[in-house]
């Protein structure tokens, strides 16, 4: 019984994987395209201010009925 608390349940992995793959499916986007988009965005952003590339993150999120693209761009201090 106790080992249940020690490991991540397989259904939690499945749920995370499904949410990710469905967000790409629904947006009709491939993970590869997303990487291209990220790189290009970073170039554009970089023209205006120095962004921290290592912390840079773009992802799709489900907000109620709609898919939303969320970009997180910490500015170098």
């Amino acid at each position: 019984m106790f080992r249940l608390f020690g490991r991540k349940r397989s259904k939690d992995h499945l749920k995370e994987r499904l949410k990710l793959v469905l967000s790409y499916d629904r947006a009709k986007l491939t993970p590869g395209k997303m990487e291209d988009l990220k790189a290009e965005l970073l170039q554009v952003i970089g023209k205006y201010f120095p962004a921290d590339e290592t912390e840079y993150d773009v992802k799709l999120e489900q907000h109620g009925d709609r898919m939303v693209m969320v970009a997180n761009l910490p500015v170098k201090g």
Binding site: R9, S10, K11, L14, L18, K19, V21, L22, D25, D65
Partner: protein
């Protein structure tokens, strides 16, 4: 559900579309509705054998579409419940005459001329023309899903396509749920599936050997009141008619979901 013509679909094959069509159709007929179940899986017909009516097929859906028989001649009346009727798919004929307009016209005739209360359309697997034809005749859908990765992904795709077709009422049947695996955290639970897919639930059917046994016998489990495994299909039929039937509580320790079902029905 207000929908009179309901497509039963899933995207992925082998998740229980045909079993669900037969059982929900039979249960609706038992509740007094005049029901037609239509197999649209041309070339891979199975609804006839699942219902035990394979020996009585003379004409099929393609014969109707190509004018070789009257609609009424292709309707096979189930002798166990005389408000239940089947239109079989063709096993061998060319399916080029399958068309959305013929499908829509057939459904219209059944509802408006032949006095049917409900038409259930068993869709083939996939998202190609067979599914599209099946969905074209429908104003509602039962999406059958198993709580595993490929079935959930395919269901999501199908739900998107149904929305694009303007099929308004989409409800989810979670089939083959295994309470002991859910308990261990090795299977998605009902709330997970609903959260991921974002559609309304209409039934939770636990994995149960007796469903297979009743299929072996060609007698849908929902027709036999003593078959508890058919109970959730009977519940789906009642919810479909607007009754507020509680969902069974998942509790493997006290005999699983079946224990919950058993208590619900006041059975043994």
């Amino acid at each position: 559900m207000n929908a009179k013509a309901i497509v039963v679909t899933s995207g992925k094959g082998g998740v229980g579309k045909t079993t669900s069509t037969a059982n929900v159709g039979a249960a609706l007929a038992r509740l007094g509705e005049k029901v037609a179940v239509i197999d649209t899986d041309v070339g891979l017909r199975n609804l006839d054998v699942v219902m035990g009516l394979e020996g009585r097929v003379v004409y099929d859906l393609i014969d109707v579409f190509e004018g070789r028989c009257k609609l009424r001649q292709a309707l096979i009346r189930d002798k166990r419940v005389d408000t239940l009727h089947l239109i079989a798919a063709s096993q061998t004929k060319d399916k080029s005459s399958l068309s959305e307009s013929r499908m829509q016209e057939t459904v219209r005739l059944l509802l408006e001329e032949e006095g049917f209360d409900r038409v259930l359309i068993d869709s083939p697997a996939g998202i190609e023309s067979g599914f599209q034809t099946a969905a074209s005749g429908a104003d509602g859908a039962l999406v059958v899903v198993n709580p595993e990765v490929s079935s959930v992904r395919d269901a999501d795709r199908i739900i998107g396509l149904l929305e694009a077709r303007d099929v308004r009422e989409v409800r989810l049947i979670i089939n083959r749920l295994r309470p002991e695996m859910v308990k261990r955290g090795d299977m998605l639970e009902v709330d997970d599936v609903l959260e991921i897919l974002g559609v309304k639930l209409i039934g939770i059917v636990p994995e149960d050997e007796r469903i297979l046994v009743s299929t072996n016998l060609g007698s849908p489990a929902s027709l036999d009141d003593t078959n508890r495994a058919g109970g959730e299909f009977r519940n789906i039929a009642r919810r479909l008619k607007g009754e507020d039937i509680p969902y069974p509580v998942l509790d493997p320790q006290s005999g699983g979901l079946l224990g919950g079902l058993r208590r619900l029905f006041g059975g043994r």
